[in-house]
């Protein structure tokens, strides 16, 4: 791609394109960040079916993603050593309480290296949604989870609607959840 542009040096049209293309890409990137607040991680899963899984939760229940078809699922990858994750979790509990009857299901995926610290935190916070233990393979299937928090929103048909990387996206996430549930904006 770069070589092709270099070969076109001298052509007025190509010279224009050299400016236009980066500008368009820049505007698109800035636009997508401004609108959604999503970071620059790949969004390859957005618009595609969410990878299924069947795992036992740290609360000792079986969690199959498929069983939540028809609901809006907020799938949150987190870890006990992640400060921003622990800021988000109480809000997810509130949303589960507030929007659960409207069709929201929050599911946590801990990427702690063992279940013990995750279970301890779940019990301490009295979490009102299930938490399963994730691993490298599940992270890969979700397009790469290489840092937390990462949150996916999955629509009632089972397709990934959005991916949020990092902290400070709670307002955007709630906005999107409400929209997916068919609720008016705040």
């Amino acid at each position: 791609m770069v070589r092709s542009d270099r070969n076109n040096v001298g052509s007025g049209r190509a010279a224009d394109q050299r400016w236009v293309r980066p500008a368009v890409w820049g505007l698109m990137l800035a636009g997508s960040l401004a609108v959604s607040g999503r970071a620059q991680m790949p969004e390859s899963l957005v618009g595609r079916p969410a990878p299924g899984f069947s795992l036992e939760s740290v609360q000792h229940t079986r969690v199959e993603l498929e069983q939540y078809r028809g609901k809006v699922v907020l799938l949150n990858f987190w870890a006990t050593w992640c400060g921003p994750c622990k800021v988000e979790m109480p809000r997810f509990m509130e949303w589960q309480k507030e929007y659960g009857a409207r069709g929201l299901q929050v599911i946590g995926v801990s990427i702690d290296d063992s279940a013990a610290p995750a279970r301890a935190l779940v019990e301490k916070l009295h979490l009102n949604y299930p938490v399963v233990m994730g691993d490298a393979k599940l992270g890969e299937r979700y397009g790469g989870v290489l840092g937390v928090p990462v949150t996916f929103l999955i629509d009632r048909a089972g397709s990934v609607r959005a991916r949020f990387d990092g902290e400070e996206h709670l307002a955007a996430e709630e906005r999107e959840v409400r929209e997916m549930l068919g609720l008016p904006g705040h």
Binding site: M41, I111, L146, D165
Partner: protein, 156 residues
């Protein structure tokens, strides 16, 4: 007057404890790592392209994240914030000359929230290693390294 002095005497241990706790927590923040030892991802990438084995690269964060993707040639050395991680890191570098170039990285969370990187750096610094660099990862390893195309591999 007497009441006030009793009150102060009662509060003193709590104030001291709070101050100590605060100092400990601050001591573990990535923000305490000297700027001079930080290396930006692009710079490390260039260095590794030119000299792939110049430095020992150690990931001091999550095993799960390491297994999913890590810098090519890097080794996992345990979570820097936990005693078992510090023990593993100490054991890994124990026999190395103090002049060995070592690059530490984590990338589990945004830089200022990372619990692992500062304790790991402090440990090696305290052991007398003179050429320790710390990879500055602003957001996380995925966004600042993998998504930049700097090359990564998963565990076998």
């Amino acid at each position: 007057m007497r009441k006030r002095s009793v009150l102060w005497r009662g509060m003193a241990p709590a104030v001291l404890l709070a101050a100590t706790t605060c100092a400990v927590v601050q001591g573990q923040s990535a923000a305490t790592i000297p700027q001079a030892v930080l290396v930006q991802p692009a710079a490390l990438h260039r260095k590794l392209e030119a000299h792939p084995h110049a430095a020992l690269i150690l990931q001091v964060g999550s095993r799960t994240l390491f297994d999913e993707d890590h810098i090519v040639g890097a080794e996992y050395a345990g979570p820097g914030s936990r005693p078992e991680g510090q023990q593993a890191l100490r054991a890994r570098v124990a026999g190395l000359p103090r002049t060995r170039e070592i690059v530490l990285y984590c990338g589990c969370c945004p830089w200022r929230k990372c619990p692992n990187i500062a304790p790991a750096w402090e440990l090696l610094h305290g052991m007398g290693f003179m050429r320790v660099r710390v990879l500055y990862i602003a957001q996380n390893f995925g966004a600042d390294w993998v998504a930049q195309g700097y090359g990564a591999e998963r565990s076998q």
